[in-house]
């Protein structure tokens, strides 16, 4: 293990999974509580497609990924706003169409497709200095913004219309959240991959949602789960010699299942002690 830690690739990988774990899981808290996962899915595919476009056009993939992500946020935000959008169907349509688009671009990529495929699955063991800097910058920005605007974010997460009506700039907060999720996706592209990043956004937050009693602790628990998934997946991938991105997702899914089991167990115990005569859960 000591040998591994001294390895510069491994050090980068440990740092990158930590940063991606924290950023993705914090954004995930907002995506899960505001129920905008369909926007998140779309943005992660748009980031992937954008990066492919960059490879095809021979420009910096990060830049094109960012552009396409922000464009998709700019289209989906207002659509979701107007409410002529049923999350279920849109999720299906957006998921399949953006994925189809990405695969179409993938087939156009000239020459060997290793770089392009790397964007799909990600590989923490090959992230470079620049990737780490970008991840660190995004992580720092998001943590600072969360602290600065915590009360506004809390009110918007609770109910956007009421937040707006009480004089909070809820629309600006909402679009700020969309932009931050876009940035997170793009920054995690090389480490986690365009297909998998969304699971790292949702799973730790969904797990924290099962157990947290207030928003602040939900952020902390989710970040903890995110980092655990990242490091756990990395460790497993060294052990089994399998792709890290996929194992990170497997690990985060296990954490989610554990949290769900824990919360339902805790609740059934509480109910059976406090009100033994109640059959169902009280509404």
């Amino acid at each position: 293990m000591m040998d591994l830690l001294q390895d510069v690739f491994m050090r980068h990988a440990i740092l990158a999974t930590f940063l991606a774990g924290v950023t993705c899981s914090c954004i995930g808290v907002l995506v899960v509580t505001m129920r905008i996962s369909f926007i998140g899915v779309c943005m992660s595919h748009a980031a992937f497609a954008g990066a492919l476009l960059g490879i095809i056009l021979g420009v910096n993939p990060t830049v094109t990924a960012l552009l396409l992500t922000l464009v998709s946020a700019g289209i989906l935000g207002p659509l979701a706003d107007r409410g002529n959008f049923s999350p279920d169907t849109s999720l299906g349509i957006i998921f399949s169409s953006s994925l189809g688009m990405a695969f179409l671009l993938l087939s156009i990529v000239p020459g060997p497709k290793t770089e392009a495929l790397g964007l799909l699955w990600g590989n923490v063991l090959t992230v470079g200095r620049t990737d780490i800097f970008i991840l660190a910058a995004v992580a720092l920005a998001i943590v600072v913004l969360l602290r600065l605007f915590f009360k506004e974010i809390q009110a918007v997460v609770f109910n956007r219309e009421m937040a707006l009506a009480s004089g909070i700039p809820a629309t600006a907060v909402f679009y700020g959240i969309l932009v931050c999720s876009g940035l997170t996706t793009v920054a995690s592209l090389n480490a986690i991959g365009g297909l998998l990043v969304f699971s790292l956004i949702i799973n730790p937050a969904a797990a924290a949602y099962q157990i947290a009693s207030d928003l602040r602790s939900m952020f902390l628990i989710s970040a903890l789960f995110g980092v655990l998934s990242g490091w756990g997946g990395l460790w497993l991938s060294c052990l089994l010699n399998l792709p890290s991105g996929a194992l990170i997702i497997v690990f985060s899914t296990l954490i989610f299942l554990g949290a769900a089991a824990f919360s339902s167990l805790a609740r059934s115990r509480r109910n059976s002690v406090a009100v033994p005569y109640l059959k169902g859960e009280r509404e």
Partner: protein, 243 residues
């Protein structure tokens, strides 16, 4: 302007959703300190009226003044801090990690402005609002797991914590059982006499409005078609229903 400033002054308001008109040349004056009931069938535009008061739905034409301030773009954020809103429905997930006390404190956030944290005044106002609505014992409970009536009272407490000059309530007793309905009515009345707060209650429950309000207007298809004292109003509507 007269000796008494109108808390709400709507003059010839027209609104539309996707080109379909809702409020049509709508005019209304609510003097300061009045408790006004707005009664009418579904789709009459009652909720839309409250949203226009909050600047959530911009009127196509017409003039709206809240506490003397014109509802123009620059004034909207300020006016929203003066008006508290209890929406018709607030669907909040059962697992939402927010406690009732935090929900009430959210009423203060707009007034506090960006970058500031709740101070002693804010805690005092939130605590008073919780007590006034009799939900102090629920402070530490998760909002999403409260019963319908408890949620409603917490949301009204949130509005009062804002220390508004105008309180707008959209069907505050909807989906509540009879006893909770009576209780909410009594509370609204108490709060009103206690704070001399200009209040609009939208409802399609005549008895609720007749028991609570100073004046009642009947809205149909985006206009006010009748305006009465509560006692006469009940009589009129019953009459209409029978004819």
């Amino acid at each position: 302007m007269g000796s008494k400033v109108c808390a709400i002054l709507a003059d010839g308001i027209n609104t539309a959703y996707h080109g379909l008109p809702v409020l049509q040349r709508f005019s209304l004056q609510v003097p300061e300190g009045e408790l006004l009931g707005v009664f009418g069938p579904n789709g009459a535009g009652k909720s839309t009226l409250l949203k226009v008061c909050l600047g959530l739905v911009p009127p196509v034409s017409g003039n709206m003044r809240i506490c003397g301030y014109r509802m123009i773009r620059e004034n909207v954020p300020f006016v929203r801090k003066l008006t508290a809103y209890v929406p018709q429905s607030f669907d909040v997930d059962r697992r939402m990690p927010v406690m009732a006390a935090e929900v009430v404190m959210m009423g203060r956030f707009g007034r506090m402005g960006l970058f500031s944290r709740p101070g002693p005044n804010d805690h005092l106002a939130a605590g008073n609002a919780l007590d006034m609505l009799g939900v102090g014992h629920l402070a530490e409970r998760a909002f999403g797991r409260l019963s319908g009536g408890e949620k409603q009272r917490v949301i009204i407490a949130r509005g009062l914590a804002q220390e508004p000059r105008v309180l707008l309530m959209d069907e505050p007793t909807n989906s509540l059982d009879w006893e909770s309905q009576r209780r909410i009515c009594r509370l609204i009345r108490e709060v009103h006499t206690d704070r001399k707060l200009t209040t609009i209650i939208v409802s399609h429950d005549i008895d609720l409005l007749a028991d609570t309000c100073d004046r009642i207007v009947l809205m149909e298809q985006g206009c006010i078609v009748m305006e009465r004292d509560p006692s006469e109003f009940r009589h009129c509507c019953r009459g209409q229903a029978h004819s």
